[in-house]
Symmetry: C2
Subunit: 453 residues, 2 copies
C-alpha cells in the first residue's frame, strides 16, 4: 500500500527535476560543486575573519552575520536568526613552566573550556601522573592533596575509527578536574586528546561536578605530555608553575542562523542540515566546524543553482554553542516542538571536511535497508559507507520529534590533528574534499526527499 502510494505520488507530482534520472541529477550536483569556488571562499572568509568565535565572544556575531548573508546569496527563500542562550567563558593569559633537575622548560598548554582560572601569579605545585580514574583513586588524598594531577592516558592509536579513539580518552579532559579536586588537587593538566604527536595543545570543554571544588584545568600538547612524563621519571620533586587566567562571565545571547528552501509539495515537513558555527578560539574552526556550516549553505546554493525543488522544506542551520553546552540544538528543537513542525530528517556534518566516505543512519530494519540501497547512486563518486550509526549532537534533540538522524562521514584519519587546536586552519582544508562532501550531502538530501526515504 505504501509502495503504491509512493508510486502514485511520483506520477502525480512529476516535474522537470523529478522526471530526471537521479543519477544525472547527482552528476550535475557534483559537477557544480567541484567547479564553483563560492563555498571555499565562504570558508576562507569565516576562518580568516571570525577566528575566536567561541560562544559569547563578540566576534561570534560577525560569523552569524556573515553566514546569514551567505545564505541569502545562496538563494534561500527565507533566512533568519534564532536567539540562543550561550555561556561566556573567556580565555586568559596562559603559561606553564616546569622546573626539574633538567632545568626550566615551558610546556605548550591551553585552558579547557569552562575551566576556572588560576591566580594571576599562577599555581606552583608538584605533579602526580595518572592514566585513569582508578589510578587516581589508588593514589588517594595523601599523595594528591595540593598537587597538580597530570592525566596522561594516550589515545588508542590502534583504533581505525579515530572518533572511537577520541571517545576512549576524552573522559580525562571532561571529568578529570572534579575527580582530582575531590582528593584535594590544586589543578589538572590533561594530555591532549589526539592520535598525533605534536606541540599543539588541543582544548575542549570540561565539566565540574557539583560536589567538587572547581580547580583549574588545562590541556598540554602530546609532545609536552611526553616531556613532562619523562622529567617526572627523572625527578619526582619536579614542580610546575601553571598560569591560566581564564574566567566565566554571565551567560549571554547569540543566534542559530537558519536558511530554508520552501518545500514544493510538503512545505510543513522539514529536513534540517547543519553544522555548528561556534569554534574553539585556538584555531580558525575550519574543519570543526566552519566546513560543516559552509557545506549546509552550499547545499542551498546547489539546489537553487540547479533548479532542484525539494518536496519538503529543506533548511541549512548553523547551530550555535555545540562546543560548550549545546543550547543551539536544543533551542532549535524546542521551537520546532512548540510550532508542531513535522521533522522528517536531520543531517549533521561535524566530523571535519575531509573526503567523504558515506553516511550513518540512526534507524533499523526496512528503512535502514532502503537507505543503504542509495549507496548505488554514490558509487560513481567513490562514496560507499552507508551504515547504521548516529547523527550528531546538534540534531539529536530532533530525534524525539521524529527526525531520521543522519551523520555525514568523511575520512577520519587526520581529523584529530586539527581538532580543537591551532592547526585547524583554512589551509588544512582541500577544496575538492570540502566540495565532494557538499555534493554528497546535497545529493543524499535530494534522494531522501525525492524517494520519501
Amino acid at each position: 500500500m505504501r509502495r503504491i502510494f509512493f508510486l502514485l505520488t511520483l506520477v502525480l507530482f512529476s516535474s522537470v527535476i523529478k522526471a530526471q534520472d537521479p543519477g544525472k541529477v547527482l552528476s550535475s550536483v557534483f559537477s557544480e560543486a567541484l567547479t564553483d569556488r563560492t563555498a571555499y571562499n565562504n570558508l576562507e572568509y569565516l576562518c580568516k575573519n571570525t577566528k575566536g568565535r567561541i560562544d559569547g565572544a563578540p566576534i561570534t556575531q560577525k560569523a552569524v552575520e556573515f553566514t546569514r548573508d551567505a545564505l541569502i546569496k545562496a538563494g534561500a527563500d527565507s533566512v533568519w536568526l534564532q536567539r540562543v542562550p550561550v555561556p561566556h567563558w573567556v580565555r586568559g593569559r596562559e603559561k606553564c613552566s616546569m622546573s626539574s633537575s633538567a632545568g626550566r622548560e615551558d610546556l605548550a598548554i591551553t585552558a579547557l573550556g569552562l575551566s576556572v582560572g588560576t591566580p594571576e601569579k599562577g599555581i606552583k605545585a608538584g605533579v602526580v601522573e595518572v592514566h585513569n580514574f582508578d589510578e587516581l583513586e589508588a593514589l588517594g588524598r595523601k599523595v594528591v592533596e595540593g598537587k597538580i594531577v597530570f592525566f596522561n592516558r594516550p589515545v588508542d592509536n590502534t583504533l581505525i575509527n579515530t572518533f572511537a579513539g577520541y571517545g576512549g580518552a576524552v573522559d580525562q579532559r571532561v571529568r578529570g578536574a572534579s575527580a582530582a579536586a575531590r582528593l584535594g588537587a590544586a589543578a589538572v593538566i590533561v594530555r591532549s586528546v589526539t592520535q598525533f604527536l605534536d606541540n599543539f595543545p588541543h582544548t575542549g570543554v570540561m565539566h565540574y561536578d557539583r560536589d567538587a571544588k572547581k580547580i583549574p584545568a588545562v590541556a598540554v600538547s602530546t609532545m609536552g605530555a611526553d616531556l613532562l612524563s619523562k622529567r617526572l621519571k627523572e625527578d619526582q620533586s619536579l614542580s610546575v608553575t601553571l598560569v591560566s587566567t581564564c574566567r566565566n562571565e554571565p551567560d549571554t545571547w547569540s543566534y542559530n542562523v537558519i536558511g530554508e528552501i520552501r518545500g514544493s509539495e510538503l512545505p510543513y515537513e522539514f529536513i534540517t542540515v547543519g553544522g555548528h558555527l561556534d569554534a574553539w578560539d585556538t584555531g580558525e574552526g575550519a574543519h570543526d566546524d566552519g566546513g560543516g556550516c559552509i557545506q549546509a549553505i552550499e547545499m542551498i546554493r546547489l539546489f537553487k543553482k540547479l533548479g532542484i525543488k525539494p518536496k519538503r522544506t529543506v533548511r541549512a542551520v548553523m547551530f550555535m554553542n555545540e562546543e560548550i553546552s549545546s543550547t543551539g540544538g536544543r533551542t532549535y528543537a524546542d521551537e520546532a516542538r512548540e510550532k508542531g513542525e513535522k521533522e522528517y530528517a536531520a543531517l549533521e556534518s561535524d566530523r571535519g571536511v575531509m573526503s567523504p566516505r558515506g553516511f550513518s543512519f540512526d534507524t533499523d530494519g526496512d528503512r535502514l535497508d532502503r537507505l543503504k540501497s542509495l549507496a548505488g547512486y554514490f558509487a560513481p563518486f567513490d562514496i560507499r559507507d552507508f551504515e547504521k550509526g548516529g547523527g550528531g549532537s546538534d540534531i539529536s534533540p530532533l530525534k524525539s520529534l521524529g527526525a531520521l538522524q543522519i551523520g555525514y562521514i568523511p575520512d577520519s584519519q587526520r581529523y584529530f590533528s586539527f581538532h580543537h587546536c591551532a592547526n585547524d586552519t583554512f589551509e588544512q582544508v582541500n577544496i575538492r574534499e570540502l566540495q565532494m562532501g557538499s555534493a554528497a550531502i546535497a545529493s543524499l538530501i535530494y534522494l531522501i526527499d525525492r524517494f520519501d526515504m
Copy 2:
C-alpha cells in the same frame, strides 16, 4: 582439485602465522603500523635530507644509501643496489616576466624535465594562447612563428578520479613543445596540470619529437596562467621574457634499491612491492613518491617484526627514474628475465599516501573475482575498493614475465595539489594516512601469498 591441493598445502605447511586467523594477522599488521613511527621518521629524513633527488643529481645517491640502510634496519634478508642508466637533466635559473598594458608582472614558472634551456638573457616574444592541438594547428605558422605558445587547457574538475583529470590535460605538457616548434614557435608555457588554483608551478617530464626543433618548455602556475590569459585579453601586444637556463648533461648511472625477505616455501617465486625514489626537485617528493618507497620498506619491517614468513620471496624496490624515462623499472624486469625469475605479483604505490581506498588488479574472470573477495578482510579498516585496473609504470615491464599487476589506490582528491610542485613536502603527509596504506599493502601481499591468489 585445485581447492583440494590448496587445502592440502595449508595442512602440510602449517606454521604459527599460517595457522592464525587472517583477520587477526591483519589486525596485528594495522596495529603495529599505527603505533610505530619508523616509517614516518624515514619519510621525514628522505624529504628533509634528499630534496632535489631527480635523476642524475648527486643528492640522489644519498637517497639510495638511506633507503638501503633503512631496508637493512627493517630486517630484510638481503639488500642490494641494481645499477640503472639515468638521464641527467639540470635545472637552471628561472624567471618569467610579462609586460602588458597593466605593467610588468612576474609569473611563477618551472622548467619541464628534459627541456632545453633559453639563452642566458632569455627569450622575449609575444604570446599566443591555445587550449589544444587543433587550435594550435588552426592558428598556423603565420600566427605562431616566433611566438611563445601558451597552452592553457585546464584540468576537467568534474572528473571524480583526479588521475583521469590529469590524464586529460597532460598532453599539452608532454607534446606541446614539439607541436608548437613545428609551427616555428620560440618556446612554450604550459598551464600546470592540476585541479587546483594555486601559485605553485607543477613540473613534469616532456618529450621532443625527432622531427621538431627543441624549444624551451616551462609550466606556469594555474594562477599565473589565469593572469596571463586575462592580460592577453586586455592587451594582445603583451610580451613575455622567459629565462630558463636548464640543460641536458650526458646520461649517467644510479641505482634501484632492493631488499627482500626470502620465501619460506617458494623462494624462487617473487612478489615485488615498490615506489620510485627519484622525485622532482621543486618539492621534497613526499607524496610522489617518497611515501610509496617508505611503505614498501615498512612492509618488510612489519613482516619481520610480526614474524610473518611469506611463502614466496617478497621484495621492496625503490625504483630509480620513474619521473623521466622509467629505466629503473625496465632494468629490474630485464634482470629478472635474464635470471628466469618467476614473477608472481607486483604492486606499485605511486598515487600519493593519502588514506587508502583499495587496490586495482590488472586481471579478469575468476582470478579477479577471487582477489575482489579479499575485500571482506579489509572492511574493518574501511578499505573497500577492489577493482579491475592498472598497476603502475615501474612494475609494468614485469607484466610480460607473468606478474599480476596491482595498484595501490589511496584517496585521490587532494593528490594534485602536491604533485610535481613545491607543495609536495613532508608536512603534507599525515602519519595515520601513510601508515594505513603501509598496513593495507603489507596485508594484501600477505593474503595474496598465503592464499596463492
